[in-house]
Symmetry: C2
Subunit: 337 residues, 2 copies
């Protein structure tokens, strides 16, 4: 493996900052340290590059947010825009600029990220979790570039910030349990998405804690459209549940219509709690009670993690593998009593 600036520092018995001063021809380095560093560099055949210099000096004051606009469901929505706004707000408060780096195709990520690092364009990288693949994480660790994952990271030594979706599902179910309801279902379009799995996990936890059991038939996936939902209500075991936790507002908006058009009153017959405070949860009749997540804060906190690691670089490259799960809040509207 290619030697890093840390290997040089370790071998020379000096700090990374000292190696950095050597690389940058700083006068603030003792002649004896200079000799040690030079000897270590020779022994390891270390080749300092623009990147190592730029990083330690932190002189680009620019952070890259890696995006892939071909994944419109991830990068083309309000959720992403809020993360970006949160990131930019926090970075600009600390004198950093946010640069967008668009991956034209999936396999291109490591190459393009390496390019912007080698060109000395950035001090750090923000990835959404979809972009945090092994090849990318490996590259960033090897190049010693601080990064943070907005969303759940799955790597040791990676800093990430995510929404606590398990808590979200727990809060949603507990709202209904608190109303004295016992027959509570959970519907979604798909359990494939991690946030849906996590919300369902929280739902299960709340039901278990309350000593409530739920039948498998109360849980349904594939209910994306109004037609799916009308069919579900027609074919499902009667009576329908007293309440449903619905995995997102879009599905809940149509499900409330399907319930009304199937002869049920919301919230009198059936209560609904969904997730994410969006325009549809407001314009729905009745309005939809939602567990809301502050996505802008996800960006703000991710930026803070990265900034903390950037500041630490002055002393040594030891990025902290911090993780944080952000809380949720319940916004009550007419779909619950």
């Amino acid at each position: 493996m290619k030697p890093t600036i840390r290997d040089v520092a370790n071998r020379a018995g000096v700090s990374v900052a000292t190696v950095s001063r050597y690389l940058n021809n700083s006068s603030l380095i003792a002649p004896v340290s200079r000799d040690k560093v030079r000897t270590a560099i020779d022994a390891l055949n270390y080749r300092p590059n623009m990147m190592a210099r730029g990083l330690v000096k932190q002189n680009t004051e620019t952070i890259a947010l890696v995006v892939d606009y071909s994944h419109e469901e991830i990068y083309g929505n309000e959720f992403f825009l809020k993360i970006q706004v949160g990131l930019e707000r926090e970075f600009s408060r600390h004198g950093y600029y946010l640069m967008l780096v668009n991956i034209a195709s999936a396999g291109e990520a490591p190459g393009l990220i390496k390019k912007i690092i080698l060109e000395g364009r950035v001090d750090g990288i923000v990835l959404l979790n979809e972009m945090a693949e092994p090849s990318v994480i490996h590259l960033l660790n090897e190049m010693e570039v601080p990064f943070v994952i907005a969303g759940r990271g799955e790597y040791k030594n990676a800093a990430w910030v995510d929404i606590d979706n398990v808590l979200g599902g727990y809060v949603a179910a507990n709202k209904l349990i608190g109303c004295g309801l016992e027959k509570i279902g959970f519907i979604t379009n798909s359990f494939q998405k991690r946030f849906v799995k996590e919300r369902f996990e929280g739902f299960q936890k709340a039901m278990m804690e309350a000593g409530l059991e739920y039948a498998e038939t109360w849980v349904a996936a594939g209910l994306n459209t109004y037609q799916d939902q009308i069919k579900f209500l027609k074919e499902c075991e009667k009576p329908v549940c007293d309440a449903y936790v619905v995995s997102d507002s879009y599905i809940a908006y149509h499900f409330i219509k399907a319930l009304k058009n199937s002869g049920y009153s919301v919230p009198k017959d059936v209560q609904i709690v969904a997730f994410d405070n969006q325009l549809l949860s407001e314009v729905s009749e009745p309005g939809i009670t939602v567990v809301d997540i502050d996505v802008t804060m996800l960006g703000v906190h991710a930026a803070r993690f990265l900034l903390d690691n950037l500041y630490r670089l002055d002393k040594n490259y030891e990025p902290q593998a911090r993780h944080e799960l952000l809380g949720v809040r319940l916004i009550e509207r007419g779909s619950t009593l």
Copy 2:
């Protein structure tokens, strides 16, 4: 006024590119030109800075998109995100990165823009028209930094791209006129916004061309909420119009509810055409016929204008003051027959 690289070129009787080569110590400059440039620089007391060098070399490959997240109604919505996606897509195709530069307060724009230019961070600037104020335009012209306005610009020598909202209003009204309707109204929340004025202008044009007159009472502003609209329908001259052009989808969504709850059938009694293809136009019952604008293309075309001017810089700083109005398309749904 501080002399510019063009002043030097003019006085020396050489091209800007030649002055640039001199500043960058290029070997591709004849000794006689070198002398002329040096003499002109001395005479004008021209002080080449990082910026002038960076610009002519175009070596940052970075474009700044100036934003102001405190104006959430402009920078915090899907419309803005689409412009950004279009810009980034086109810039990255040409090897440029898009950097976000957030203005923390209104008066800060010229200072911050000057800072990023002096620091040699960018080759060009994209402004939304709200940001294109005299102080900013003056600065960019003086510093000879290519820029483009996404939205309608009001300055000579500025390149801008906008949506043809007059055409939009014209297409909307003509859809209804083509259905044989004559009593057509226009409602909005406010005529203060330029795009509303322009859409209304197009409406007027279509009515005039069709030889139709409209009563002032058929045109109403201030109809933002469902309650406003219920009141309007209660108090307005009966019968209500056969059709309305509505200035945006949000208002149209609620207006259709207000019409239905006031006893009118849409589209049988009243037809509706609105603008902007959004989630609300789809989920409305009936769905809303809209004049759609391709906002992503606004970003793509704005990027192209700027790229064209960047490439021209190699020869001379003569940015083209090009303007373009992008077309619209009609998406027909259940709110019209």
